[in-house]
Subunit: 393 residues, 2 copies
């Protein structure tokens, strides 16, 4: 019999993918320039030239046997060293290469982090609005995921609700800042308050509460925004990173898990990661890309377009009468839906060839997500549709 868990998952429609499929079909019918597909978080700026130059250079100048050969189970040492050095230089951290485990993107990093510091049946807490994939990620590790309702005024953490739910069965807290879908960056104040609670409760419960920090949008932070490096505030932090957004390489599936050197059992967490890999069939990120990352991890794509788009879109939405917490980073925005049923609102938008995602799937009904990782001209052309939608209410 086919697997009941996975066949069951087919019943829950993947709304983002459905919208994206519809957008693709519409683009064929009426032309791509007439479809406003704000559904998917796919970078709209290419990888920096340095990435492609480095790929060619590696292929030309590295012996093919070692270039494409098995990489060590923790990852290629040069990549781990360069990443640790880059983090230390930028965030005043003390990572050593041995604290870095190379993974297949942030999803791979989370798959390892979630399994390393928990046991099946444990509880894990995250905060709405949150990435919809956290449900399958935690389910796959046998964990109970508790989603704390959003503080919809700020999209910082709803501490009152959080404290009520924190209990000794909680092994880890999963956070995502800059946040998908809200675009919000947790402030220093938020991080200090969160980590003080975790320190106190870890002592009270007699075991560390690990902080798993999912940071694929770390390098898309807008000017002047307070953006603490989270591992700098809490020793028991596991940072999950992907180069998908910073280097526009989402398809290459390359990222890392960084374990704070001051973390409880830091060395053992890294040491068990290859054991986790063995059970989920995920034996290392692609070797060519690991070598490329070693030479490019300090670079980024030209990410300025996202802030340009944010400004145009945010200012316009506010002027039209939308309520929205201003994003501090990412390429997402999460306004309040003009009508309580965000599915109905997104359906109306879809009929005008504007593709938006209902907030319900991020644990936050009554809102909708705009992924503005599209050409700026497309953002501008979509503004009248947003205006119509709120006026027709």
């Amino acid at each position: 019999m086919l697997n009941r868990q996975y066949t069951g998952m087919l019943q829950e429609k993947d709304i983002i993918f459905e919208i994206f499929q519809y957008a693709t079909k519409r683009a064929e019918e009426i032309g791509e320039e007439n479809v406003f597909d704000f559904s998917l978080g796919n970078p709209s700026v290419p990888a920096p030239d340095l990435v492609n130059r480095t790929i060619i250079e590696k292929v030309k100048n590295t012996d093919a046997l070692s270039l494409h050969g098995y990489s060590p189970s923790f990852g290629i040492m040069e990549a781990r060293e360069k990443i640790a050095a880059s983090l230390n230089r930028r965030f005043h951290t003390n990572y050593r290469a041995s604290n870095i485990f190379m993974t297949m993107g942030a999803a791979g990093a989370l798959a390892h982090a979630l399994r390393a510091v928990t046991n099946p049946g444990d509880e894990i807490i995250t905060f709405a609005p949150c990435f919809s994939e956290y449900k399958p990620y935690t389910a796959g590790a046998g964990l109970h995921l508790t989603i704390i309702p959003a503080d919809t005024d700020t999209f910082q953490i709803n501490f009152n609700a959080f404290i009520k739910r924190l209990n000794p069965k909680v092994s880890a807290i999963l956070i995502n800042s800059p946040n998908n879908p809200s675009g919000i960056v947790y402030s220093t104040e938020t991080i200090l308050r969160l980590t003080r609670i975790l320190q106190k409760k870890s002592e009270e419960f007699g075991h560390p509460i690990y902080l798993i920090s999912d940071e694929p949008y770390r390098d898309i932070i807008f000017e002047g925004v307070d953006s603490p490096y989270i591992a700098g505030y809490y020793p028991d932090t596991l940072t999950c990173y992907s180069f998908s957004k910073s280097l526009s390489l989402p398809g290459e599936r390359i990222g890392y898990l960084a374990v704070n050197p001051d973390c409880n059992q830091a060395d053992q967490i890294i040491e068990i990661c290859p054991q986790i890999s063995r059970t989920i069939g995920q034996n290392g990120a692609a070797s060519l890309m690991q070598r490329v990352i070693a030479d490019t991890c300090d670079d980024t794509s030209d990410l300025r377009v996202y802030e340009t788009n944010k400004k145009i879109l945010y200012d316009a939405l506010i002027s039209f009468g939308y309520e929205c917490v201003e994003p501090g980073g990412t390429f997402y925005m999460f306004p309040r839906s003009p009508e309580p049923d965000s599915y109905a609102f997104c359906e109306k938008a879809r009929k005008k060839d504007l593709m938006l995602v209902p907030g319900d799937i991020f644990g936050c009904p009554g809102h909708f997500r705009i992924a503005y990782c599209v050409p700026t001209v497309r953002v501008k052309k979509a503004l009248p549709i947003f205006k119509e939608l709120i006026e027709e209410r």
Copy 2:
């Protein structure tokens, strides 16, 4: 608390890796040319030039956004089409692109296949000698793995032992031909006998018993060896493939799962694969390599060296008095240990700087594995050591 399952796995020493580490250390001390490292199955011939030329061509001529962008969750259509066509041309099969799911190597393919056609608690049967990683692979899917003892005279299937253990709790049979560690290829007779049993028992049990065929060595088959394409003999076959050996790309983690179009619920098996990916954090093989595979999947490295090495080594071992079933493919050989304790034998070999792996970890004590994916000169230079070892007995 850290995960008990994974910390527990640290206690079971990874013998192959330990031997490999020792070999690396010795190479530093006495020179690489004086260490005979037959421990690891790392290809010794480089990827064909076509692979590197194709990488450069793709990087130069493909728009960077689509080259490195998210690939569809089933894989890039062109790669799936080309792989299906290549299989159909070579093996007279009827695969459509929709039967192919792109994965991170054979390990990724197995992770999906094993989860798709089973439910946690089910039993899965494999045959000794078998790849040591089958234990963590099946444990990760929540399965009970039964290893049928080897038929050490032929390393074909021990059918008497198999039939006794086959029962209605068995969801799938996992086979690996050409085989790691024995190098044996299952004959048409073996496959016919196996598939007849499975057909009969599937009817008797009232559910299909799927055949998961792990075939990373499919393209290393020696001249004149009977090597049936297994999916051609049994509709309910899921074939797991990796380009790691055929194209010498083990580090790039690229492979596929091919579901026989005549398989029970063939479409649904493929359909649930992306759901499985979501729970194990394995969202697609690297996009650049998928595109490269589309253009190179009919090519192979120059694999002839493995047959050359096999012939030299096999003939010499037999002349020295070793007992060994002659390999039909791969780059492994699995002789009987001259003394019953193969750990002790491998330890003696290690003292002579010859690195071998005890058969116990492949479920077959009293044997040892030789991975002869090394330069031919190294094979020749190692022969006197093999001679000494059997003479000193």
